[in-house]
């Protein structure tokens, strides 16, 4: 599942970063507390969060995440988009809630496995 797939599954829109990145999701983390995100020891994390701030992007960069999704169609500031572009983190805006997104991504993983 690439960031382009994530955009489709979550009815999202790519707001910053490279939408054609070949990196695939290695793990999903749904979290708004950045200190907690830093605890996850996984590669290619897809971060689902409601924290629409630069810190979400900076944290994603620190843990080497492959992308960030911001939920509930929260407005994203110009600086957040800039930080995402500067640090090369694909940033997706989705109208879904985090819970909804978790369930949909999981269904898509299952479908991927079956295929």
């Amino acid at each position: 599942m690439t960031i382009a797939d994530v955009v489709k599954i979550l009815d999202g829109k790519l707001m910053a970063g490279d939408g054609t990145s070949p990196r695939v999701v290695g793990a999903v983390v749904a979290n708004d507390l950045m200190s907690d995100v830093l605890l996850y020891d996984a590669d290619d994390i897809l971060l689902l969060t409601s924290l629409a701030s630069d810190q979400a992007i900076r944290t994603a960069h620190i843990v080497g995440a492959m992308g960030v999704v911001v939920h509930n169609a929260k407005p994203l500031s110009e600086t957040m988009l800039k930080v995402a572009n500067d640090l090369g983190i694909p940033l997706v805006s989705s109208p879904l809630s985090k819970y909804d997104a978790c369930v949909r991504l999981h269904d898509a993983f299952l479908a991927e496995e079956r295929a």
Partner: protein, 111 residues
């Protein structure tokens, strides 16, 4: 879904039981301002915020079941608050993502 059923689904422990506590939908959120803005009535709140303020927010949005992830400890003032307000607290070792999947029989919370 009753608090007891939720507790079982997430493989958790009932830190604070509340009579009749149940949920018909789910919201996942750690930012209390976000929860306040988006979580609907009757939802189970999946969060990492082991803090008294979480209970305050629950009473505001009308949520009767809180699921605390990553086995974070429930501080005494939070437990007291939950008892007073009739909010059940379930503590699970799962992450928010895993807990969400475990509860996926329930619909997303509508605000």
């Amino acid at each position: 879904m009753t608090a007891e059923e939720i507790c079982e689904k997430v493989g958790g422990e009932m830190a604070v039981a509340a009579e009749g506590a149940a949920a018909g939908s789910v919201y996942v959120g750690d930012l209390l301002s976000d929860v306040m803005g988006h979580a609907g009535e009757d939802c189970a709140l999946v969060t990492i915020q082991n803090h008294l303020n979480t209970i305050a927010v629950c009473t505001l949005v009308g949520c009767a079941v809180v699921v605390i992830c990553h086995s974070r400890p429930v501080p005494p003032d939070m437990a007291d608050g939950a008892r007073r307000e009739g909010v059940a607290i379930v503590v699970t070792p799962m992450s928010q993502y895993e807990a969400a999947l475990a509860l996926s029989a329930l619909p997303p919370s509508k605000h």
